[in-house]
C-alpha cells in the first residue's frame, strides 16, 4: 500500500456491561484498513459484530456499547478523540453511511427535495442558490428517472429501490471520501439489488471512494468488493482478496458459510452449518469456531490460533489452513424427495382474483370500469398430494396474498378454491369446518412475529393439539415433545419461551406447530428469509425431510430463486399478481422461459466473483398492475409492440405441463437472447 489507509482500525475492542456488571466484549481486537478507491466487504452471521464494526468506523457506538481498547483512525486522527463538532462535520460529509432500511431512515413527513436540501446545506460547499441544481444532478447520478418529480415526492411514494437510491444520493451530497454501507440491498428484490450494486460499483470507481460493505450475503460481496473480511463471534477469522476467499477459503467457517448457500446450478440441497456462535462473555481460551469445526483437534480447544498469512494473500485464524480444502463446499447431495407420479389432487384454485380495495358506499353506484384492476387476478393452479409448488416473484407480486387466501384470511373477490375430494373450500376461515381447518396450516415469514412471546414452547405447540385433537395434560406434553423431536429440537425446549431461542430454533418451533395438525397442505411464506444462510440451509434440509416423511403438499413462497429451486417440484412465476409461467422446476429454470423469468434468473447473485448478473431491464417502479394487456409490458426487454399493450397474452403449452404466458412464440423464447 503506497498511500496511508483512509480508515485504519487497530485492535478495536467494544463491549457492553452485562447484568452481572462484568464487561462483555462483542468485538475482539479487530484490525481493518481501507484505502481510497478500495472496497472491503465484512461478512458474518447475525450477531457477529459486523454492523457494530461499521458504525465504530464512524466513531459511533450504539446505546450501551463502549470502547474497551484500540483506535479508529480516519484521515489521520482518532475518531473517538475528535470533538463533537468535528465529528458532525465528518459524518455525513466526508464519511457517508447508507443504512439497511432507507425507508425508515428517511423522514416520512418531509419531501425528498427538502431532505436532500438539508444534507446539502450541512455538507455542501456550493452556494445556496446552486443547491437545487445539485439535488437534481445527484438524483441523476443515482439513475432515478425524472429527478424533478422525485424531489416533490414523499418517501412512501417511492419503491424500496428508489428509497435506497435517494439514501445514496444523500450520502453523495457531502462529496464523501468513504462510504459505509450496512446491508444496503437486504430486503430488496433481486433485480433491484443487482441494479443498486452496479450503481455503487460505478460510483466508487468514478469518485475513487473507499467503501466498507457490511453484508451477510456473499453473493453481494462477490459483486462489489476487492477484499473481504470474515467475522465470527466478534473476531476476524479470515481476511483476503475476494477471489481467493470465495474460490478456496482457508478457514473452515468460511467454507461452511459458502457451502450453506443454495445455488442455481446445483440441484442438491445446501449443506447446513450446525451449532451456533458463542454468546458474548463465553469462554474463549481455544479457537472460537472449534465447537462447530469438522477439523478441530485438542490443540484447537486449548490454544487460541493466531492469524497466519498464506500464499494467496489470505490471512486466516486457523492452525490447519492447508487442511481446510478437505471440507466439501458443494451441496450435501441429500436426495431431494420428489412426489410420486399421478398422485391425487390436493387443492385447486380456479380463476381466483383478490382485491384489497373495498368499494365504498358511493363507488357501488359508479360504473365497474372505474375500479382499479385486482391485486391478484386469474390464478388457476392445481396441487397434487405430496408435491411442492414454489411461488416466486418480486415484492408486490401477490405471492403472500395468494397464501393468505388459501389460509382463509383474505377471501377472494372472484373464483373458487376446491379441495382434493371435490368439496369447495369455504372462503372465510371463520366459516370453515374443523377438518378443513386442520388440513391447511401456514408457517409465517418471521418467527419473532408468528410466535407469541408470552407463551412457552409447550403452550405454543399445545394450541393446535388442544384445538384439533382435544389433547390434555400428560398426553399433550408427550405429543409436543414428539413434535419437537421431528424438528430436531429436544424435549428440554418445552418450557422455554421464544425469547430464549435463536432465530433458527424459533422457526423450527413454528414449523412444528404447523405439523402438529398433521396437515395435508402446508403454506410456507418466505420462511427462510429472516434467517442466516447457514440456518436457512438447516431449515431447508428439515423441510425436505418432513416432505418425504409426511407426504404433505407444500406451497413455498419466496423471492429467492435459488431457495425455491432447491426445494420445489413445480414452480410458478408471478408478476404483479398474474401468473407468467408455471411448470416443473427444471423446465421453468431452463428454456424456453418467459421474459420475466429470464430477467429474474439473470439478476441472481452467486457467491462467485466470475459470475456477472445480466441486467435485462430496469427495476420495478410501477406499483399497480396495468388494466389491460400483458402485466409485464412496461419492463419487458423483448416487447413486440401494440399487441402486448392491448391483449392479454395466451398460455402456450410446452412439454410436461410447462406453460408460458407470452405473445412471443415458444421457439423464440427458447433462444438465449430472444430479441
Amino acid at each position: 500500500m503506497a498511500n496511508p489507509p483512509l480508515i485504519d482500525i487497530r485492535g478495536l475492542c467494544v463491549g457492553f456491561r452485562g447484568r452481572s456488571g462484568a464487561m462483555l466484549p462483542v468485538l475482539h481486537g479487530i484490525d481493518l484498513q481501507v484505502c481510497r478507491g478500495e472496497s472491503i466487504g465484512i461478512v458474518g452471521e447475525s450477531g457477529s459484530g459486523k454492523s457494530t464494526l461499521a458504525l465504530a468506523a464512524m466513531g459511533y457506538l450504539k446505546h450501551g456499547l463502549q470502547k474497551i481498547s484500540g483506535e479508529v483512525i480516519y484521515d489521520g486522527a482518532d475518531m473517538f478523540a475528535r470533538s463533537p463538532s468535528e465529528l458532525a462535520k465528518i459524518r455525513g460529509g466526508q464519511l457517508g453511511l447508507i443504512p439497511q432500511n432507507s425507508g425508515q431512515a428517511l423522514t416520512p413527513t418531509m419531501r425528498i427535495g427538502r431532505q436532500l436540501d438539508e444534507a446539502l446545506r450541512l455538507h455542501c460547499s456550493l452556494p445556496e442558490g446552486a443547491h437545487s441544481d445539485r439535488a437534481i444532478d445527484l438524483l441523476t447520478q443515482v439513475r432515478l428517472p425524472d429527478p424533478a418529480a422525485i424531489l416533490r415526492r414523499y418517501p412512501h411514494e417511492l419503491s424500496g429501490g428508489q428509497q435506497q437510491r435517494v439514501a445514496i444520493a444523500m450520502a453523495l451530497a457531502g462529496e464523501p471520501d468513504a462510504l459505509l454501507l450496512d446491508e444496503p440491498t437486504t430486503g430488496l428484490d433481486v433485480t433491484t439489488q443487482a441494479h443498486i450494486l452496479d450503481l455503487l460499483r460505478e460510483l466508487a470507481r468514478a469518485r475513487n471512494m473507499a467503501m466498507v460493505y457490511v453484508s451477510h450475503d456473499l453473493g453481494v460481496i462477490a459483486r462489489v468488493c476487492d477484499r473481504v473480511q470474515v467475522l465470527y463471534a466478534g473476531e476476524t477469522v479470515l481476511e483476503g482478496p475476494v477471489r481467493a476467499v470465495l474460490k478456496s477459503p482457508d478457514h473452515p467457517y468460511a467454507r461452511g458459510l459458502l457451502a450453506s448457500i443454495p445455488r442455481l446450478g446445483d440441484r442438491s440441497l445446501p449443506r447446513a452449518l450446525d451449532g451456533r456462535p458463542p454468546a458474548p462473555g463465553a469462554d474463549r481460551t481455544g479457537c472460537v469456531f472449534a465447537p462447530r469445526c469438522a477439523l478441530a483437534t485438542d490443540h484447537c480447544q486449548t490454544l487460541h490460533p493466531p492469524i497466519i498469512t498464506g500464499e494467496a494473500g489470505q490471512a486466516t485464524r486457523c492452525f490447519y489452513p492447508e487442511q481446510t480444502s478437505e471440507i466439501d463446499m458443494t451441496g450435501s447431495g441429500a436426495p431431494l424427495s420428489c412426489c410420486a407420479e399421478n398422485s391425487p389432487l390436493a387443492l385447486s384454485l380456479n380463476g381466483v382474483a383478490i382485491r384489497y380495495d373495498r368499494p365504498g358506499a358511493l363507488a357501488r353506484f359508479m360504473p365497474a370500469r372505474s375500479r382499479p384492476p385486482a391485486t391478484v387476478d386469474d390464478i388457476t393452479l392445481s396441487l397434487t398430494l405430496g408435491e411442492t409448488l414454489g411461488l416466486v416473484g418480486e415484492s408486490g407480486s401477490g405471492k403472500s396474498t395468494i397464501l393468505k387466501t388459501i389460509a382463509g384470511l383474505l377471501p377472494p373477490a372472484e373464483g373458487t378454491l376446491t379441495l382434493g375430494d371435490g368439496t369447495a373450500l369455504t372462503p372465510r376461515v371463520e366459516q370453515r369446518r374443523p377438518d378443513q381447518l386442520r388440513r391447511i396450516q401456514m408457517v409465517f415469514q418471521n418467527p419473532d412475529e408468528s410466535l407469541n412471546p408470552r407463551q412457552s414452547v409447550a403452550n405454543i405447540l399445545g394450541q393446535p393439539l388442544r384445538l384439533y385433537f382435544g389433547l390434555k395434560g400428560r398426553e399433550l406434553r408427550a405429543r409436543a415433545a414428539e413434535l419437537l423431536e421431528t424438528v430436531r429440537l429436544g424435549a428440554h425446549y418445552l418450557d422455554r419461551r421464544p425469547g430464549q431461542l435463536s432465530g433458527g430454533e424459533k422457526q423450527r418451533v413454528a414449523i412444528a406447530r404447523a405439523f402438529a395438525a398433521t396437515p395435508e397442505i402446508v403454506l410456507c411464506d418466505e420462511i427462510t428469509s429472516a434467517l442466516d444462510v447457514s440456518v436457512q440451509a438447516a431449515v431447508l434440509e428439515l423441510l425436505n425431510d418432513l416432505k418425504a416423511r409426511h407426504q404433505s403438499t407444500f406451497v413455498f413462497v419466496s423471492h429467492d430463486l435459488t431457495v425455491v429451486r432447491a426445494l420445489s417440484d413445480r414452480v410458478a412465476v408471478l408478476y404483479q399478481g398474474r401468473l407468467c409461467e408455471i411448470g416443473p422446476a427444471a423446465a421453468v429454470y431452463g428454456a424456453p422461459s418467459h421474459p420475466y423469468t429470464k430477467v429474474l434468473l439473470n439478476a441472481v447473485l452467486e457467491p462467485d466473483p466470475d459470475h456477472v448478473p445480466h441486467l435485462l431491464t430496469e427495476d420495478a417502479t410501477e406499483l399497480s398492475p396495468p388494466a389491460c394487456g400483458c402485466p409485464f409490458k412496461h419492463r419487458c426487454p423483448v416487447k413486440i409492440g401494440r399487441l402486448c399493450d392491448t391483449d392479454t397474452p395466451p398460455w402456450q403449452e410446452a412439454t410436461d405441463g410447462h406453460a408460458i404466458r407470452c405473445h412471443i412464440p415458444l421457439q423464440d423464447l427458447s433462444k438465449p437472447d430472444p430479441v
Binding site: 457492553f16 450501551g64 456499547l65 384470511l409 376461515v429 415469514q445 408470552r454 395434560g473 406447530r513
Partner: protein, 292 residues
C-alpha cells in the same frame, strides 16, 4: 400443564417486585404503599385514642406529647383520625380498581380484536364520557342513589373503567397486528380463545401499570367526594372529610389540614412511584430500551 405454568409465574411476580425495589423510585414507592397498607390494617389496634371520642376541654388544641397532631374542632385526636382515615378509601378503591380494570380491560381488548363499526361506535361513546369532567356524572349518580359504600364502589368502578377501555384497546391493537394472531385465526380459534391465550398475556403488563395509575386517581376521586360531603359519613374518619372539616379553622389549627393532606399525598406519591418503577421493570417505557 397448569402446575408447570404457575410456578414460573409466581416467581416472576416476586422477581418483578425485587427488580422494582432495586430502583430508587420503586424502593420509595413500595415503602410508602406498604406503610399505608400496614397503617390501614393495624390502625384500630395501634391508634392512641378512639376516633369519635370528643374532648370538650381541648378543642383545636396544638400538638403535644399526648396529641401528636393536636385535636380538631370537636376535640378529637387528629393523629388517631389520620391513622384511621385511609381505611374506607382503601376498602372502596381496593375493590373498585380491579373491577374497573377487569371490565374496561376485557371490553377494550375485545374491541381491539373485533375492529369495524362496533369498535368505532364504542370508542366515540368512550370519547363522549371522557369529555365530561369526571366528578359530574359521579355526583349525579350519588345524588340519585345515595352515598353508601355499596353505591360508591360500583359507581367508581364504572366511571374509572371507561378510560381503561381506551388503553386496553390500544395495547390490543398493537398485538392484533402481529402474525401470531393471524396464525391463531388461520387455525380456527374462537375470538375468546384468541383473547385469552394470545392477547391477554401480552397486554397484562400495560394493564397492571395502568391499574396502579387508575388506583391513585380513584383514591383522589374518593377523597374529593368525601371532601364535598358525598363520601364517608361523619363521624367516620376520612382524609377528604377531615380536610373539609378542618379547613375552616386552618389559620387556627393548620395541623388539622396538614395531617390528612400529608397522609393522602404520600399514598398517591407512593402509588405513582411504584407504577413508574413497575413500568420500567416491565420494559414498558420506550424511551430507554436496555441493551440485550
Amino acid at each position: 400443564m397448569s402446575a408447570a405454568t404457575t410456578t414460573p409465574r409466581r416467581s416472576r411476580a416476586l422477581n418483578t417486585l425485587r427488580d422494582m425495589a432495586a430502583r430508587p423510585s420503586g424502593a420509595i414507592g413500595l415503602t410508602l404503599v406498604t406503610l399505608h397498607l400496614v397503617m390501614a390494617l393495624m390502625s384500630p389496634w395501634i391508634a392512641p385514642f378512639d376516633y369519635k371520642e370528643m374532648n370538650s376541654a381541648l378543642i383545636l388544641g396544638g400538638p403535644s406529647a399526648e396529641h401528636l397532631l393536636g385535636t380538631d374542632h370537636l376535640g378529637r385526636d387528629v393523629f388517631t383520625r389520620v391513622l384511621l382515615g385511609g381505611r374506607e378509601a382503601f376498602l372502596v378503591t381496593g375493590i373498585a380498581t380491579p373491577i374497573a380494570m377487569l371490565w374496561g380491560g376485557m371490553l377494550g381488548v375485545l374491541l381491539g380484536l373485533r375492529g369495524g363499526w362496533i369498535d368505532e361506535a364504542m370508542m366515540r361513546l368512550v370519547d363522549a364520557f371522557l369529555a365530561l369532567p369526571g366528578i359530574l356524572p359521579l355526583l349525579v349518580l350519588i345524588t340519585v342513589f345515595g352515598s353508601g359504600n355499596e353505591v360508591l364502589t360500583p359507581t367508581l368502578a364504572f366511571f374509572f373503567g371507561i378510560p381503561v377501555i381506551r388503553v386496553a384497546r390500544a395495547a390490543a391493537h398493537e398485538v392484533v397486528a402481529r402474525d401470531f394472531i393471524s396464525a391463531a385465526r388461520a387455525r380456527g380459534h374462537s375470538p375468546l380463545s384468541i383473547v385469552r391465550h394470545e392477547i391477554l398475556p401480552n397486554v397484562t403488563d400495560t394493564l397492571l401499570v395502568e391499574g396502579a395509575m387508575r388506583w391513585s386517581w380513584m383514591l383522589l376521586g374518593f377523597s374529593a367526594l368525601s371532601f364535598l360531603g358525598f363520601g364517608v359519613a361523619p363521624p367516620m374518619a376520612d382524609w377528604g372529610l377531615m380536610i373539609s372539616d378542618a379547613r375552616v379553622y386552618m389559620s387556627l389549627a393548620p395541623w388539622g389540614v396538614l395531617g390528612p393532606m400529608i397522609a393522602l399525598s404520600s399514598l398517591i406519591i407512593g402509588i405513582n412511584l411504584s407504577a413508574d418503577a413497575l413500568a420500567k421493570t416491565l420494559g414498558l417505557d420506550q424511551g430507554r430500551k436496555a441493551v440485550v
